[in-house]
Amino acid sequence: MSRPDWVPAAGRSASDAALLPIVAGVAAGACGAGMLAAAVLGGAADGQQLASLLVPGALALAAGGTALLLLPRPHNVEIRPTVGLGSITLAWTLAAAIGSVPLMLSGVLSSPLDAYFEAMSGFSTTGATLIDDVDATPDGLLAWRSVMQWLGGVGIVVLIVAIAPTLAPGLQRYFYSEASSVGDSRLTPRIADTAKIVGAIYLVLSTAAGLAYLIAGMSAFDAVNHAMTTLATGGFSTHTASFAAFDSTAIEVVAIVFMAAAAVNFAFYWRLIKGRSLMPQLAEVRVYFGILLLGTVAVTTSLLVNGDVEGTGAAIRAASFTVTSLSSTTGFTTLDFDTWGGFPEIVLVLLMVVGGCAGSTAGGIKVIRVTLIGKSVGQELRRQTEPRTVTVLRMGGKVFNENVRGAVLAFFTIYVLIFALGVLAFTAAGLGEAGAIGGVAATLNGVGPGLGDVGGLENFSALGDGGRAMAIFLMLAGRLEIFTVVALLAALGRALTRR
């Protein structure tokens, strides 16, 4: 593997470890610019607590810019797996650390752990919050929460669709080959171009969402913020009551459309624009919309049968919004789905676990993996009765090699293990079972609201400090497709025991 060609050729270093400070510089610079943007938004609104954004923003931008200008870049060296994984993880952990500063300085969340939780929830596009009264929070900091999610969202799509293949070749089995662009070795010869196009698609969709919210009746400030958190499938809102604060069908419809759009593979849009073959992304998108429809029908039926909501129209409205919000792992809420009973609750948790398409801003296991898992199970069943059958994993006409099968199966196994450990940890940290299961589903899949103590209308305050630390880990691990973080920990563990 040669030098990643998206890195501008300035100063050059013969060591791949030089990548780490560069990535840190990018993260700091992006955070700094984002804080300044949030300060502008806050200045246009209530204008409170702007200093807590301007000062760290200017510092972070200066530090990041200086690092990018002065530090040498790795040139013509092979990136070792640990360095690749380390730089991806560093980008998110450092961004969350810098992002927590304004929250602490402004006193919105005075405990460093809580501020870090909120910032990680932002950059991982989760949307779980520890702020009790969102409405009373200064606008500048609300804008910063939205910007964190927007940056986290664009970061992940650019990373997965464009950069990861170069940065961490070992991760291709998880990020790239199976997720974004199976069959092609890369989207374009120039990864920087791909990154720009994907970023542009994200920006265009965000702008469209903002305009649509504005037309549907949101204030300009709300529209900008919700556009950012919708496209990121993040779920932070400027209101404690989330979308219930608007009580508007038009606004909910806009949210549904853009949440679903954000959960579609960005490689699909790219291929659409470039006029390339749409497979297998189209197959994944079809399955995704099938799941959305099925989930909506199931929840609507249950709401009507149990009489939780008055009238068919209201039931369809509540079910379609909640299903799209949780399945796209956004986490906006209108009604308290925590009171809908066992069946819809389990349906919603399963939807969170499935998540959206690979290569989107959504979290979860991802539709393509779930589809491949289903196909694999079907094939195992056939092999039970016809042991000599030769089975090939196929989706949308594309053939997946046995490596992909192994990777998907292992991904699922580790996902379940982490899920189980998370539930145990959350119960130890003081949540009830429903809260623990819902809480892990909400953080590991980047959704936000869960069930029980951390249900649709609650925040994560019921979770003790140990549980908050665990939640931070789950949000990070889930955002980076689990293997990034777990493999890095394994490498660290190995390095430590070797000494």
Partner: protein
């Protein structure tokens, strides 16, 4: 299904007739045994068991007669028919098992009687019995069902109709699938004898031990049957807690742990054979068991759920063992414990004990292999070119096994999720739904919430009882056997597309 049956109707039908017939014959003999056992006590309702038993025995023998002479040409029997035969046999056992319970009036509703009978034969131990003022024969029958179900129907069939050939072999591997199938001997009949022998020794040991602790012969024999089978039905409405005896609890604990060990391990130990990889599994089993006991004990002490250190340890050890081995006896009401302990208890249901034992769950060997496979996949991240071999206790496993274990796990999670959904669809709260699905699929017995340790399954509506019955059958036959019956669906859809 007809398409598959049509070309080879001869040997296939013969296999089904033999396996179902043999199972019915065993069930009939069991009922007659119940009539005899009940004579030693109150002697009520003997006629029902003798009559139904004789009838079922005759039907079973007719089935065996139908198939006699055909079993050797069953070499061409497809695996599919093995699965079908075994599933049908278990279903028919549960159906005839429900008949006496209905006739006597223990249950007024056929669905309830079927649930109880299925819970019996699958050695689950979930019960709908609330009124324990029943004739002795009813208790005997519940215990005998579990005892028969524990050893497995193929062993029973072979004991009644001493046959050999590919057909019965297919049936045997349909019942004990995947990594759990240990070829002890080349001939199924010899394997069956060994398994029955070990089962018998455990039975004798448990009976004597229970007698020594002061149980009446009636209680001792009933509990022996349900402990060795890791079933969990009790003659006492409060289960083992009703005896309030450390001695009884220790015996139950010890026998449950023994019954959770791979029977192939005992056989190899007796014969002085190589103990691997079974020894590795037994080690892992005991480590997981003790680790979970320690964790539950600590959480109980911190939360102060149980009074006193000794009682805490006693209740924690018993509860973890009873759920991990899929038995389902109750001493402490774990439904009232802290959430950490409750979640851990449900997780231990999934772990299960060793493969090749009478227990349910995913099984320790599969869990170990899953962990190893996951670790290798992580290592592959760091060294993409590394060659990896799945090993346990020094024995390498083929890539087929890796795929089968991962596939099993996926299917298990899938069935569990669908089961929970279906259970919740019948109108119970989420915790009852997910624990009810766990306790039936892993053939344990008690769950949480409405079906907690001290409650019966009456907290679940009729639809949920049917879902539970299906999950018990699927779990007892280690998932693939029952679900593989759906395989033609996948094939035909492929053919169309």
């Amino acid at each position: 299904m007809n398409q598959i049956l049509a070309p080879r109707v001869g040997p296939g039908a013969a296999l089904i007739a033999m396996v179902v017939g043999g199972t019915l014959a065993a069930a009939g003999l069991g009922m007659i045994a119940v009539a005899l056992l009940a004579l030693t006590g109150d002697g009520e309702e003997i006629g029902v068991f003798a009559g139904v038993g004789a009838l079922v025995l005759i039907v079973g023998l007719l089935g065996i007669g139908l198939s006699s002479g055909r079993e050797r040409d069953a070499a061409a029997v497809r695996p599919y028919l093995g699965f079908a035969a075994v599933t049908l046999a278990w279903l028919s056992a549960a159906i005839v098992g429900a008949v006496p319970l209905l006739l006597i009036g223990t249950f007024g509703n056929p669905i309830d009687a079927f649930f109880e009978s299925m819970s019996g034969f699958t050695t689950t131990g979930a019960t709908l019995l609330e009124n324990f003022d029943q004739p002795d024969a009813v208790f005997w029958w519940r215990s005998v069902m579990q005892y028969l179900g524990g050893i497995g129907i193929v062993v029973l069939v072979v004991a009644i109709a001493p046959v050999s050939g590919t057909g019965i072999q297919r049936a045997f591997y349909a019942e004990v699938s995947g990594v759990t199938a240990d070829r002890l001997t080349p001939r199924i009949i010899d394997t069956a004898k060994i398994l029955a022998g070990i089962y018998g020794v455990l039975t004798a040991f448990a009976f004597i031990a229970y007698e020594v602790t002061g149980m009446s012969p009636f209680e001792a024999l009933n509990h022996t049957m349900t402990t060795v089978a890791t079933g969990g039905f009790s003659t006492n409405p409060e289960s083992i807690a009703g005896f309030d005896s450390v001695g009884v609890e220790l015996v139950a604990l010890f026998v449950m742990i023994l019954a959770g060990v791979n029977f192939a391990f005992y056989w190899r130990a007796i014969k002085g054979r190589d103990l691997m990889p079974q020894l590795a599994e037994v080690r892992a089993y005991l480590m997981i068991l003790s680790g979970a006991i320690v964790a539950v004990t600590i959480s109980l002490l911190i939360a102060g759920d149980v009074e006193g250190l000794a009682t805490t340890v006693r209740e924690a050890a018993f509860s973890v063992t009873t759920v991990m081995t899929g038995t389902g006896y109750v001493t402490g009401d774990f439904d009232g414990w802290n959430d950490f302990a409750r979640v851990l208890i449900v997780m231990m249901m999934f772990t299960g004990a060793c493969a090749g034992s009478t227990c349910g769950g995913i099984k320790v060997i599969r869990i170990s292999l899953l962990f190893k496979a996951a670790r290798q996949e992580i290592e592959r991240q760091l060294q993409p070119s590394a060659v990896q071999v799945l090993r346990m206790g020094g024995r390498p496993f083929s890539e087929q096994v890796r795929r089968a274990v991962l596939g099993f796990f996926l299917l298990y999670v899938l069935v569990y999720a669908l089961g929970s959904l279906a259970m919740a669809g019948t109108g119970v709260d989420p915790i009852t739904a997910i624990s009810g699905s766990a306790t039936t699929l892993n053939i344990v017995g008690p769950g949480l919430g409405e079906i907690g340790a001290t409650d019966s399954f009456t907290g679940i509506p009729e639809g949920g009882r049917l879902v539970g019955s299906a999950l018990m059958l699927i779990g007892r036959l280690e998932i693939f056997t029952v679900v593989a019956l759906l395989a033609p669906l996948f094939r035909s859809r492929k053919a169309m597309s």
